[in-house]
Amino acid sequence: MNTIKRLLGWIWLLLGPVTIFYLVRTAGHEIAAKPVIDTKVQWGVFIIVFVPIAIGLMIFGYYGIKGEYDQLPEDSSQL
């Protein structure tokens, strides 16, 4: 199971930038197609909110690769 956790870590690590790229590209297309304030606000909000989350996913993936999730803590002294 630990091997799977580490291998999947690569997917989460890569999924972060893929999400950011897809998000920014779609936002660009949508704003170009309909350059009104509503569209800009909507997609601006999406980028502001989801980019940090995608970075969080990358950190999660990195921790997965490093084996941080191989053994989960069982009490607070291990945190």
Binding site: V41, I53, G56, Y63, E74, L79
Partner: protein, 518 residues
């Protein structure tokens, strides 16, 4: 937690009641805004484009959700510094005050752009307050509960979100019906000014809840930590600045709350929006369908919460997500099927013409538009309103119909289809109970007492506020991009829940923590 610090059986019910009533009211406050989105759009946003107005309201709705994680940080920190009791008292007052104030803001026609701006600010305050409320209530109950019943007792808190929606729908329908003996006049009055009443009702409910909560004691675990001087000096830094805890915050978000949030908001909000705006089922039926589904499914929160004390939290939540991912397309297709006039046999002798309008086109003076509205009755008891728009060219020879557009609105389903829709919505809400029932216990067990309020609140509100809260908005947006597929909006919850399902299954432990007193 060991059983010596748990509240006695009678005491725990007081704790649950005080926490649940306040949380229920907060959800009520939060939902009346969403449930009245269309009415509020007319009151506070420019009417030039109804879709833009609705989107603006949804954006405001989303703003209410997006600030929730910030509320989680602000009030979570307070809760870990000064205590659970006073923090969630503060959030309750803030929420009740903002809701009441929304009911007082004059419309756009009277004060212009100040109106939507004020509403937006109050909405943001609501979001902040809600961000601080849930973590406090869940932590407070969990820290009073015995270890072997933590899932069961905290699941009562989980019912409040659904019951808050239920209460908001009930108050709205009741107000809408009771402003005048004549139904149409009553609805007109409601759309004009009566929509404010559900907002004003909140202040009474909050008053009662504050009174109850003031009588409660501080959480025994937090009080013990405080008396020993072991509370955290900087809960934010401890929660997110230390790798050992940050990795658990990320695991909670990506392995549980993210999927739980989208399943919840798809089942209870996007489904209602889909039934009303895509299937075009009439206002009242779309709400009573949801009310029945919620009523039947709500006890399942307790069932799954209690069951998680025996089999663990993880697999119940994962099963809920997996079922949602695999059946969403089918269930939403059923909603379309029940409301599709092509699948029904019309009783043509009952067809009734209710309105005819003829208008000229300024740019094409030779063309006129004839709009006829008819009431159609079907064999299965359904009644649909048909709006037929014919563009007619008047030439020297004879009028020629050059285009026809037919749409069906205000659909009232027949008895059988009505209850089938209730059934499928009940299934969707059942998924909600599976992912949501055990989650408070799951989150509480992940983090230590000294930083629990902060640590569990943030992933919960990013999962529910951002991923979940934006579900109706993003799903609706997807249907405007992929216009030929009415079910395209479902790809958002399916993908998010799919990723969460894999992460949860592989990384999350199914262990029930026997001791949260650490």
């Amino acid at each position: 937690m060991n059983n010596t610090t748990a509240a006695p059986a009678r005491g725990i019910w007081k704790v649950i009641a005080a926490s649940s009533v306040g949380t229920l009211i907060e959800w009520y406050d939060f939902y009346i805004f969403g449930s009245l989105a269309t009415v509020i759009a007319n009151q506070f946003f420019p009417k030039t484009n109804p879709t833009a107005a609705l989107l603006s309201t949804l954006a405001t709705f989303a703003a209410g959700f997006i600030v929730r994680p910030f509320g989680a940080l602000v009030f979570g920190r307070l809760g870990d510094l000064i205590g659970r009791k006073y923090t969630f008292l503060l959030t309750l007052v803030l929420m009740g005050g903002s809701t009441f104030a929304i009911g007082l803001v004059p419309g756009y026609e009277r004060i212009g752009f100040a109106a939507p701006l004020l509403v937006l600010l109050l909405r943001l305050l609501q979001g902040l307050a809600l961000g601080g409320e849930y973590g406090g209530a869940a932590t407070y109950v969990a820290e009073h509960a015995p270890a072997n019943k933590r899932g069961y007792y905290t699941s009562w808190i989980q019912t409040t979100a659904t019951l808050g929606l239920f209460l908001s729908l009930g108050v709205i329908l009741l107000t809408r019906h009771s402003l005048d003996p004549d139904m149409e006049t009553s609805i007109r009055k409601f759309n004009d000014w009566g929509w404010r009443i559900p907002f004003w009702v909140s202040i009474l409910l909050v008053g009662v809840s504050v009174y109850i909560r003031l009588k409660m004691n501080e959480s025994p675990l937090f009080a013990k930590l405080k008396s020993e001087g072991k509370t955290s000096a900087n809960p934010l830094k401890e929660s997110f600045g230390h790798k050992a805890n940050l990795k658990m915050v990320l695991l909670a978000l990506f392995g549980a709350t993210m999927g739980q949030g989208v399943v919840w908001y798809t089942g209870q909000f996007y489904a209602q929006s889909f039934i009303e705006n895509v299937c075009k089922i009439d206002f009242e039926q779309s709400r009573t369908i949801l009310i029945w589904a919620i009523l039947f499914a709500t006890p399942l929160f307790i069932v799954f919460g209690g069951w998680s004390d025996k089999v663990g939290r993880k697999w119940i939540m994962i099963a809920g997500m997996a079922l949602a991912i695999t059946t969403y397309q089918y269930i939403f297709r059923q909603f379309l099927h029940f409301s599709d006039p092509a699948t029904k046999v019309e009783l043509t002798e009952k067809r009734k013409l209710t309105d005819t309008k003829i208008s000229m086109l300024e740019k094409f003076p030779a063309d006129t538009i004839r709009t006829t509205t008819s009431e159609l009755h079907y064999e299965d008891g359904a009644v649909f309103k048909e709006i037929r728009t014919d563009t007619v060219r008047v030439s020297a020879d004879a009028p020629t119909k050059i285009s026809t557009n037919v749409r069906y609105v205000d659909k009232k389903l027949g008895n059988a289809d009505y209850w089938k829709t209730v059934f499928w919505l009940f299934i969707l809400v059942t998924y909600v109970t599976m992912v949501y029932g055990p989650i408070a216990a799951f989150l509480v067990e992940l983090f230590p007492t000294r930083i629990r309020y902060t640590s569990m609140s943030l992933p919960y509100h990013i999962g529910n506020g951002v991923f979940g809260g934006l579900t109706p908005f993003i799903a609706t947006l997807l249907t405007t991009i992929y216009v030929n597929n009415k079910l395209s909006g479902l790809w958002y919850p399916i993908i998010v829940a799919g990723i969460c399902c894999i992460i949860g299954a592989v990384y999350v432990s199914n262990r029930i923590d026997p001791d949260v007193n650490d």
